[in-house]
């Protein structure tokens, strides 16, 4: 028994993927929605434990778990894999009340697509080859697009079509980029850019940009975020979309860390990240301020948050990458808290928030804390991420990065404040229709978890330490 457990511990990356994809296959063949959901929850929980184990062993204990055939661990991948697994588990938990709203035939598909999407994004984080990253990112994107198309509302199909078209064009660029990097470095490995002498630096730089740009699109960074409005605004599978965003940003951090270690391409990649990062902060903030649908508001606010993460990644320093990883956790938890809180209402307009703080107090608290984290309010994880970005930016002489962080926070104070004002300072209106399904209580641990993660801002030492170690490992410095 102990030997079997030890074997599983050593094979944690493969076990994580096997649990998610195996769970997806099993959930798919069982025609009963609730049974599929139970299988999905068990698989996602087991995968969460396995991914946490691999992350802990690689980052903290320093175990030599660097290579497993088609998988290879690095700091950013090991840090982000458990985060994606947590989001997948919580998204499935929150799926319980909405499951009954779906046609019976579609219920197992929804569970399977959640698991397959999370598994594919974790695969992209752990893949050894660049082509493996592209295949896994495409699979994860298609799974989440399929999930988006499942609801009965027809608007969701239009959102899924936009996602599929954007992802398809993006996949073509990513494939070409992987080919260019392989041609320039003579290696198809993700770490190839570090180890090999780059014979054609321009080709390699273009290859990295061709891979990173579609990932930015998938992360919802402006101005590449044309798909986010229809997808977030009209689909019920918004929590699945947050998995895709977090997964894509994490893959960007992983690949950028690799690029940062190769002087021939580092500058070009950094410039590309800065351009999209600044545009994303400005455009996302302006759009979020004008949004009247809360889910769209979260999509646009996410673009601004992703912009800040891209700026931190662009610094290409241990401090910058650590700041990006902390912000990644804050972004994932904040977006999740906001979107999961909104699921308490049948409607997603701003008016639906009126009086929610009193009628659905846990959802109200989740939305409030999510909004405060997006603002970067003190004692939240968002503050920590923003502070780390400013620290790293000033340390590198990028004073203007401070301006980007301040713009993001100021805009978030406006739209976040509007959310909080509606939650607690308005009366319930006719549009405030709250979910009365008894399964809604399955969301309580989801909301509590989101609140708890954001509350890490109260005692952030362990997270900062973990992010610093992961960043050092990703940049090949060693913890």
């Amino acid at each position: 028994m102990m030997a079997a457990l030890e074997f599983l511990r050593l094979q944690a990356p493969i076990v994580t993927l096997a649990l998610l994809f195996g769970g997806a296959a099993l959930a798919l063949v069982i025609p009963h929605g609730r049974v599929s959901w139970t299988i999905g929850i068990v698989s996602a929980l087991a995968a969460l434990i396995a991914s946490t184990q691999l992350s802990w062993a690689f980052i903290v204990s320093g175990d030599a778990m660097a290579a497993y055939g088609f998988l290879a661990l690095d700091g950013a991948g090991a840090f982000a894999a458990p985060l994606v697994a947590v989001l997948a588990f919580l998204a499935l938990l929150a799926e319980a009340p909405t499951l009954a709203d779906r046609p019976e035939r579609a219920q197992p598909y929804a569970i399977a697509l959640h698991l397959a999407g999370a598994g594919a994004w974790i695969g992209a984080l752990l893949a050894r080859d660049l082509i493996g990253v592209v295949v896994c990112a495409s699979a994860g994107w298609l799974a989440i697009a399929g999930l988006t198309a499942l609801p009965a509302q027809r608007g969701a199909i239009n959102g899924a079509l936009r996602m599929t078209m954007a992802g398809g064009a993006g996949a073509a660029f990513m494939l070409l980029g992987a080919g260019m990097i392989g041609y320039a470095t003579g290696s198809g490995d993700v770490s190839g850019a570090t180890n090999a002498l780059i014979g054609a630096p321009m080709t390699a730089t273009l290859g990295f940009v061709f891979i990173l740009a579609p990932l930015m699109l998938m992360a919802g960074a402006a101005p590449l975020h044309a798909w986010t409005g229809p997808a977030y605004g009209r689909s019920d599978a918004v929590l699945g979309l947050s998995i895709a965003s977090v997964g894509a940003v994490a893959v960007i951090a992983r690949l950028s860390a690799v690029a940062a270690t190769a002087p021939a391409v580092a500058e070009g990649v950094s410039i590309a990240l800065v351009c999209v990062g600044v545009a994303s902060v400005l455009i996302g903030s302006v759009q979020a301020v004008g949004a009247v649908n809360v889910r769209r508001l979260v999509a646009y606010a996410s673009a601004a948050q992703v912009g800040c993460i891209l700026l931190a990644v662009a610094l290409e320093s241990p401090a910058g990458l650590a700041a990006a990883l902390v912000q990644l956790v804050a972004f994932g938890a904040g977006a999740f808290a906001l979107l999961a809180g909104m699921l308490a209402s049948k409607d997603s307009t701003l008016a639906a928030l009126d009086g929610m703080g009193r009628r659905a107090p846990i959802a109200g608290v989740a939305i409030t804390i999510g909004a405060l984290s997006f603002m970067g309010a003190p004692l939240t994880l968002g503050f920590l991420g923003r502070w780390r970005l400013i620290e790293a930016g000033v340390g590198a002489g990028w004073w203007w990065a401070t301006g980007a962080a301040v713009i993001t926070s100021l805009a978030a104070v406006f739209y976040g404040g509007r959310l909080i004002e509606r939650l607690y300072f308005r009366r319930v209106t006719e549009t405030s229709v709250f979910d009365a399904d008894p399964w809604r209580f399955a969301r309580v641990p989801v909301l509590a978890a989101a609140v708890l993660v954001i509350a890490c801002g109260l005692s952030p030492g362990w997270l900062l330490d973990l992010a610093a170690r992961a960043a050092a490992l990703a940049l090949g410095i060693g913890a």
Partner: protein
């Protein structure tokens, strides 16, 4: 310059044209079918580019698999669009969605 190098350069140029042209159609095509055609053209361009860059057979197979997956999902969405909206013209679909989405009521 040898004929091989010229052919190599031409292949790469053709692949870039296909990738960029296909992507432009995928984002701005007048109907969903044209957009799917754009995605397929773009992925075909990537396949040609990979072959020109000397990618291995496993990479080419992976690229074909990705193209097939996007094509399959795109066509299934096309069928659902036709069933739900009665058409596949994207401007018309966007207009219907704008009508469907309720304006924010004043509190």
């Amino acid at each position: 310059m040898s004929a091989g190098l010229i052919a190599h350069g031409l292949l790469l140029a053709a692949s870039l044209v296909l990738v960029f042209g296909g992507a432009a159609t995928a984002f701005a095509g007048a109907n969903a079918l044209k957009r799917i055609g754009g995605v397929i053209a773009s992925l075909t361009g990537a396949l040609v580019g990979l072959a020109a860059l000397g990618a291995g057979s496993s990479v080419l197979i992976a690229a074909v698999a990705i193209a097939f997956a996007y094509c399959a999902v795109g066509v299934s969405l096309l069928v659902r669009l036709q069933e739900s909206y009665g058409g596949i013209e994207t401007p018309a679909i966007d207009c219907v969605d704008l009508v469907d989405e309720p304006a924010e009521p004043r509190a």
